[in-house]
């Protein structure tokens, strides 16, 4: 494929000298290949690796907005561990991720099974299901904010009129447990389409023959789900859960718009608390330490899940 200067000369084409040599060098397989991936590499370097490196450096230094600090080692990490609000944030994040992820997995598989059926208007339905995923989160969360509003809550209004809730109804964003439930509900609502559509893609790739064979063997619908669908969905589910764990742990918009971490810090997640300390309070060092605190744990989760996926 590569066309060098000598070949050009032999073919009677006049050599352009230096330019031709550059051409020849450029067209070598290994140079050209790396050349093609260079732009993507530079982009990742600038937009991912550099900020990550800076965040790591900030977390190890006494760095304030606009005033470079000194290296303090793990001082920031020790400081945040001693802070009760941070410890509460850690507990909130695990609770939030565990419940939201379970909800999304169960409901996502269920929704995917429904969407896989031959219903009328199937395409329209599949498109509509994606809406929560497509609408900008900040915008849809504002809508949820109104639904959970203390004065004008449509959730309470409906519940009261259906006789399900005793008036005046719960104060969704003002009581710790309800506030956590509210942010989890919105997170599940938003993340569900990602689960459902990805699982649906996995479902349609399962050959019909397996189901037919199972039916012949007398398997019930639950049996077919348990022994055919679920095992064959495992690799897809593992990838979706992996991605969703990371997204859910790092959620920011929903909590920031709905509760700003309140009431009494009971809905703060790593991202919202890091924002409060690092950007609003100007303590970039501690803010970075808060946001990077989960990195080793998440790294391990990713490592084991990827290993499991490769094995499967």
């Amino acid at each position: 494929m590569a066309v060098g200067g000598r070949v050009l000369q032999a073919a009677g084409v006049a050599s352009a000298g230096r330019l031709a040599r550059v051409h020849a060098w450029w067209e070598q397989e290994h140079v050209f290949g790396y050349g093609l991936i260079l732009p993507a590499f530079v982009l990742i370097g600038c937009l991912v690796a550099y900020p990550f490196g800076m965040a790591l450096y900030f977390s190890l230094s006494d760095y304030w907005v606009g005033s470079p600090g000194q290296f303090v080692g793990l001082g920031n990490y020790r400081e945040i561990l001693g802070n009760e609000v941070f410890r509460q944030t850690v507990a909130n994040s695990f609770l939030f991720t565990a419940i939201a992820l379970t909800g999304k997995t169960v409901l996502g598989v269920w929704l995917a099974l429904l969407l896989a059926r031959n219903l009328r208007g199937k395409r329209l339905l599949r498109g509509a299901v994606l809406l929560p995923w497509v609408i900008p989160t900040a915008l849809s969360t504002l809508g949820w904010g109104w639904m959970f509003d203390s004065l004008y809550s449509v959730v309470n209004w409906t519940g009261i009129h259906l006789g399900l809730i005793a008036p005046p109804g719960p104060n969704w964003l003002g009581m710790p447990n309800y506030a956590m439930a509210a942010v989890i509900i919105v997170n599940i609502w938003r993340g569900l389409p990602f689960f459902a559509i990805t699982v649906l893609a996995g479902l349609v790739s399962i050959p019909r023959e397996y189901y037919e064979a199972a039916e012949v063997d007398g398997a019930s619908s639950f049996g077919r789900f348990r022994y055919v669908t679920l095992p064959l969905l495992k690799p897809v589910l593992a990838v979706v859960i992996l991605f969703s764990t990371i997204f859910t742990f790092n959620d920011f918009n929903i909590v920031y718009v709905l509760t700003r971490g309140g009431p009494v810090n009971t809905t703060h997640l790593f991202a919202t608390y890091a924002y409060q300390i690092g950007l609003q309070g100007g303590n970039l060092g501690q803010g970075a330490a808060i946001s990077l605190f989960m990195l080793p744990t998440l790294g391990l989760v990713v490592f084991f899940q990827l290993r499991y996926i490769r094995k499967e």
């Binding site: 969704w172 009431p263 950007l279």
Partner: protein
């Protein structure tokens, strides 16, 4: 046409494009067609939008006069701290910005000294109110020009009070508690936010000072929260929450109390006059029922912590002199007066002479507002304002302390928790200069 030719053409074109782009970036300057002098100003989305319209109008007038262009960008007030921090960190962005809380202390070393402008304006305008001056006067000079402050009076529904048999709105916080109990039984509770919003702290400082409680000692460093006075304040909040308010105050954002009084349900809130202005603008009948009164007093007198806003100029700005001229232009009496009118008395002048404005007398519901200046303090008082005070406010620690106590935590334990959070905020105090 072969694939290799396509590829080459593509690569050549993209390389040339990238090269030109990089050269432009490396040059670090805009191309010649964009080189007209442009002054940029970052401000907030004013709670009375007409005030922003007037500001832009004045910016245009200044641009014509100074033969430049002026761009006024506005954004939600809660997003401003992050935006300002990003500009400070990247040393790029707007030439000047609206400062709030202790921004001038937080960014002291990054802001242009404005001693000359402040001195000139102060002499012309009969002097600055001390609370407005303190918020901008750092150890290394004036790092902001006090722009305006926002009074924080009591706002009440006259019809609800009359129905409950009260002749007048509460003069003291204890009277508010007594009246609130009756008003809640009537179906019209009172409301003070106890949540992660700035109004929650505006009221807390006021209640605490009026009861002789402190957050920080006079040295500005020693936490002063654990005291009998604070315990009394917490007990007062607990009783008010239980007998005079609805639990919704635990979830309010800064607009929560506005919605509460405008809905017709609420009878009293502690807030700037924005709900009344909104009711007037939207021609809501409730505007007739809403009135204002001076912030309530306590055993230690009347004290309030109104939001105090200023204007700062970044050192990285290449238009610092132009920005100073623009600030002085905004403070011309005719311009400042027009701006007060546009805000319908929401913006209060930090200069004594500018406070003499017919708008306060025009509407009896505004008549008491200028008096609020007499008992206003910067947050952190009796200590000086500092970046530590801003961190205390940003982390809503007093609101959380009260909410914890309401949630069942023993008062002493809640105060100790708050004291720990305040100590952390102080520990992170930046070295001045």
């Amino acid at each position: 046409m072969s694939a290799s030719v396509n590829r080459r053409h593509f690569l050549r074109a993209s390389s040339i494009g990238a090269g030109v782009g990089l050269a432009w970036l490396a040059g670090g300057r805009a191309p010649a067609f964009a080189q007209k002098r442009e002054l940029t100003f970052l401000s907030w989305n004013h709670f009375v939008p007409a005030a922003d319209d007037e500001l832009r109008k004045q910016a245009e007038a200044f641009a014509k006069q100074a033969n430049c262009s002026v761009r006024v960008d506005t954004m939600a007030h809660l997003q401003m701290p992050a935006k300002i921090a990003a500009e400070a960190q990247s040393q790029a962005g707007h030439d000047m910005f609206r400062t709030a809380s202790a921004d001038t202390f937080l960014y002291e070393s990054l802001l242009v000294s404005l001693d000359d402008v402040v001195d000139k304006l102060g002499k012309q305008g009969g002097g600055w109110y001390p609370f407005a001056a303190e918020m901008n006067q750092t150890k290394s000079g004036w790092k902001g020009v006090p722009w305006f402050w926002v009074s924080f009076p009591g706002t009440y529904n006259m019809a609800h009070f009359k129905k409950a048999g009260f002749e007048h709105p509460p003069k003291t916080w204890d009277e508010l508690l007594r009246q609130g109990k009756v008003l809640k039984k009537q179906g019209n509770p009172v409301g003070i936010p106890i949540s992660h919003c700035s109004d929650a702290h505006s009221t807390y400082w006021s209640v605490a000072w009026s009861n002789g409680a402190k957050v920080l000692e006079a040295d500005g460093k020693t936490p002063g929260i654990v005291s009998d006075k604070t315990a009394q304040v917490i007990e007062w909040y607990k009783e008010l929450f239980k007998d005079a308010m609805d639990p919704e105050v635990l979830s309010w954002d800064d607009a929560g109390n506005n919605r509460f009084i405008l809905s017709g349900k609420g009878s009293w809130i502690h807030n700037p006059i924005s709900p009344y202005n909104a009711a007037l603008k939207e021609k809501m009948p409730i505007a007739d029922d809403i009135n204002h009164h001076n912030s309530p007093a306590g055993p230690a007198g009347t004290h309030s912590a109104p939001p105090i806003l200023g204007i700062g100029i970044w050192k990285f700005s290449k238009n610092a002199d132009l920005a100073k001229e623009f600030i002085q232009f905004l403070f011309r009496k005719e311009n400042y007066d027009a701006w007060i009118v546009a805000s319908n008395a929401f913006n209060h002048p930090p200069l004594r002479h500018l406070a003499d404005h017919p708008i306060w007398a025009k509407n009896p519901k505004f008549a008491m507002l200028p008096k609020e200046a007499e008992f206003a303090h910067p947050r952190g008082w009796p200590g000086k304002p500092s970046d530590a005070v801003q961190r205390i406010d940003d982390n809503y620690v007093m609101a959380d302390m009260v909410a914890k106590a309401i949630g069942g935590m023993p008062t002493k334990r809640a105060m100790e928790w708050c004291q720990d959070q305040i100590a952390r905020a102080v520990k992170g105090q930046l070295k001045v200069g």
